[in-house]
């Protein structure tokens, strides 16, 4: 059997820069022969660039389920392209700005001929950093396009400041933790990165975002500093929020600094009653939080009782407040180590990402039943799902991915000597993480 032709779906709201990126894909010399399917029906040239236009015919299947809508025009075009597969290396499929990516993606699962010949490698969503905020509330399409993405090109970043960009990243990250976010202006992202997403490679996706499977904490960042006894300081600029919580915490043994482990301890302290502090105040290491007034640029004192290692856990990332730690001599001190945590849900978006991890082998029958029930009941709410599963008596990883109620699985790399565990990601509306996690655990062999 010949290898399947990889397909990248390019989506994004009107004016987000899809055409700019598409033109770059077509004009830059990357050594790949690319067939492009655009969003208006047209002609396939015989010898010239293969740019095919589609007609956006969304078809429901006979069972009437909206999850099984497909693009009839794409089936025809792709089946035609299957006869010309020696002419190109991959396909880029552009959707209209208002298109729901669901039917486009589902086409690659529903139609046998398409599934046999083509491999949906990834979905790239372009987001207009300047204007996307205004669409968050009133456009289901924008939410869906972000939720479906394997990669998000945050375009037009030159039109927003760092704080806005950071906030946008956080919000997009909340919607879709799985996607890699690439800031760009004029869609100037490396073409190779866009085309080689490795959409099904969950390990790789996890590698992109270390915070992916971590629990959500009320802090987004932690830095470990070596500080000397005396009056150090913490400089913070005026930020998007009027105040910010933080904890300064002493670390007794520097050799054992593992920030994610420390986070569990600090998380418990976070619930303690905080102390408000302003420009004239001083904080010191302790196990309760401080709330720093940030309505203006602030430099607060940090009283360090003795030379040693100290951690700062902050509610927001240091970039949002231009955080600088200064030593006793007033010089800037750099962290020995730092770590970014997954942002908590600070917005009311109903679209979320849920990551599940389960150590041990899953029973295949229980797993099938679980997935079957889950997809029947929650399918309409699930935009994307991906997973690498450890199934009992199976030496290889089971790699699965799906769209709404449709999913496909294939054997992955052998487990070998590695610890066997399963990891799944669901992106969808109103997903119940606890329920998903508890019911997945019932599938353990």
């Amino acid at each position: 059997m010949e290898a399947k032709v990889p397909v990248t779906i390019l989506t994004g709201f009107l004016g987000s820069g899809k055409t700019t990126l598409l033109n770059r894909i077509l004009s830059e010399s990357h050594g790949l022969r690319i067939a492009v399917i655009e969003n208006e029906f047209g002609e396939i040239g015989i010898d010239q660039d293969m740019v095919i236009n589609a007609d956006e015919e969304v078809f429901e299947m006979n069972n009437g389920c909206i999850c099984c809508t497909v693009r009839g025009d794409l089936i025809r075009i792709l089946n035609n392209l299957a006869r010309r597969r020696d002419k190109f290396d991959r396909i880029v499929l552009e959707t209209t700005g208002l298109a729901d990516p669901g039917p486009v993606a589902q086409t690659f699962f529903v139609d046998d001929d398409v599934r046999d010949e083509f491999n949906l490698e990834g979905i790239v969503t372009l987001v207009d950093a300047k204007h996307v905020e205004q669409h968050f509330g009133d456009s289901d399409e924008v939410m869906a396009q972000i939720a479906f993405a394997d990669m998000i090109v945050l375009n037009k970043c030159d039109l927003v400041d760092d704080v806005q960009q950071s906030q946008l990243k956080e919000r997009i990250g909340n919607l879709n933790k799985m996607a890699k976010i690439l800031p760009a202006k004029m869609a100037d992202v490396p073409i190779a990165k866009v085309l080689d997403i490795g959409g099904f490679d969950l390990d790789r996706a996890l590698g992109i975002n270390d915070a992916f499977l971590e629990p959500e904490y009320p802090f987004e960042w932690a830095g470990i500093y070596s500080l000397r006894e005396g009056r150090n300081s913490l400089k913070l600029s005026k930020g998007p929020d009027p105040d910010m919580s933080l904890i300064c915490y002493p670390i007794p043994d520097q050799s054992k600094i593992e920030i994610p482990e420390l986070a569990e301890t600090v998380f418990r302290f976070w619930a303690e009653l905080p102390t408000k502090i302003n420009n004239a105040g001083e904080i010191h290491p302790r196990s309760t939080p401080w709330i720093v007034d940030l309505r203006q640029e602030t430099e607060i004192s940090v009283g360090i009782p003795k030379d040693g290692t100290y951690a700062f856990f902050t509610q927001h990332t240091p970039e949002e407040f231009d955080l600088v730690v200064k030593g006793v001599n007033g010089d800037k001190v750099l962290p020995i180590n730092d770590h970014y945590f997954a942002a908590g849900h600070t917005h009311d978006d109903t679209v979320t990402s849920v990551a599940l991890e389960c150590v041990g082998d899953l029973d295949s029958e229980k797993l099938n039943s679980w997935l079957s029930v889950l997809l029947q009941t929650e399918g309409p709410n699930i935009f994307r799902m991906k997973g690498i599963l450890s199934v009992k008596d199976n030496e290889r990883r089971m790699v699965f991915q799906g769209v709404h109620m449709l999913f496909d699985s294939q054997p992955g790399e052998p487990w070998g000597e590695e610890d066997r565990h399963s990891r799944l990601v669901f992106i969808g509306r109103e997903l119940d993480q606890d329920y998903l996690h508890e019911t997945l655990k019932l599938c353990l062999a």
């Binding site: 208006e40 029906f41 047209g42 002609e43 396939i44 040239g45 015989i46 236009n53 007609d55 015919e57 078809f59 429901e60 299947m61 006979n62 069972n63 009437g64 497909v70 009839g72 025009d73 089936i75 025809r76 035609n80 006869r83 010309r84 529903v110 139609d111 046998d112 001929d113 046999d116």
Partner: protein, 351 residues
């Protein structure tokens, strides 16, 4: 297929591109194949020579069909052009006419070409409509299919009724009364292939959701045949319309259409293939069948009885088209493969 005689091709040629359509002339002498790059090959099977190869269109090709009586065939492409070609008495091939159609709903692809049984009309599937052309290439009437792109067309065996299938069902127009509203046969989902039974009593459609939709034309009563693994696009009538042979699985399924029809009756199964069937052809009598699978294996068998295949043949890749010669007494089978090979087999020694 151990122990069964293998059939070797007596004619084979490299098409250089993947074929998109294959058809015999009515007399069974000429065989035409059009490829994805619009290159056309006409083979003279009287002496098994290539009559001519040429590029028929500037765009990718999608369809080819021979006239049911004359030595004329039509080709259609993605640029909205239909051309009529004639094999002259001196064996030269000339372009008779070229029709450039205006895009229908933004779609200019000519995906379907089908002559009416009397040969007076060429029906042309073009986006959301089917247009009719005369043998001279003059456009006459247009019939719309509002639900989307026309996926299949078929003529009533006696001529004037034209069935059009696509998303949402079938519309049946009377070409003699083009202003009349069409008969509507609704079905949820997308219909992909269409076949009117030889007696005109049934209309069948292969569906995207792995089923065959069925209507009794007189009563409009509908039914469904399901259980297919893949899309059952192949709808082949055998035994003068008394039985229907379908693809869409590894098994060949033969449905009874004699007496009161297939409802409540078990179909017959033939398990000759290890992979999904993607092409089926029956001789004019419907007694000899060729079936081909996705991995290039062709089985040749008789519709009567349930014995093993009489012979088998093998192509270099997925079987794209199978078609028996319509010439009387001929047992020549034409086959194309996805990789671009045209092969002719002579089954006269075995059936």
């Amino acid at each position: 297929m151990d122990g069964i005689q293998k059939l070797w091709s007596f004619f084979e040629t490299d098409l250089a591109e993947a074929p998109v359509a294959l058809d015999w002339s009515a007399c069974g002498r000429w065989l035409s194949v059009i490829n994805v790059d619009s290159s056309v090959l006409v083979v003279d099977t009287l002496n098994n020579t290539e009559l001519e190869r040429w590029t028929a269109h500037d765009d990718g090709a999608l369809a080819l069909t021979w006239h049911p009586k004359l030595s004329i065939f039509a080709t259609g492409c993605q640029g909205g052009v239909v051309k009529l070609w004639q094999v002259e008495e001196d064996q030269t091939i000339n372009e008779v006419s070229a029709i450039k159609l205006a895009p229908s709903s933004g779609n200019s692809w000519i995906e379907l070409l089908k002559w009416s049984p009397d040969g007076k009309h060429l029906s042309i599937g073009n986006g959301n409509s089917v247009m009719l052309s005369t043998i001279m290439g003059e456009m006459s009437t247009s019939f719309s299919f509002p639900n989307g792109t026309v996926a299949a067309i078929d003529w009533h065996p006696r001529g004037s009724l034209l069935a059009i299938a696509g998303y949402g069902g079938v519309l049946i127009y009377n070409v003699l009364k083009p202003k009349e509203k069409p008969i509507v046969l609704e079905r949820k989902g997308s219909l992909l292939s269409l076949s009117w039974s030889p007696d005109g009593k049934y209309i069948l459609a292969g569906c995207q959701d792995n089923a065959v939709a069925l209507w009794r034309f007189r009563t409009r009563k509908d039914a469904q045949m399901s259980g297919f693994t893949y899309k059952p696009l192949q709808l082949t009538w055998i035994n003068r319309g008394k039985r229907l042979l379908t693809g869409g699985t590894k098994e060949l399924v033969i449905w009874p259409f004699d007496k009161k029809g297939p409802e409540g009756r078990d179909p017959e199964m033939r398990s000759f293939h290890e992979h999904a069937i993607c092409a089926i052809a029956a001789t004019a009598s419907g007694q000899v069948i060729a079936s081909g699978c996705r991995f290039g294996r062709i089985a040749i068998w008789e519709s009567a009885g349930d014995s093993e295949p009489k012979s088998w043949a093998e192509l270099d890749s997925r079987v794209e088209h199978l078609l028996w010669s319509p010439a009387k007494k001929s047992k020549t089978l034409a086959a194309t493969s996805r990789q671009g090979t045209l092969s002719l087999f002579d089954a006269s020694g075995i059936i």
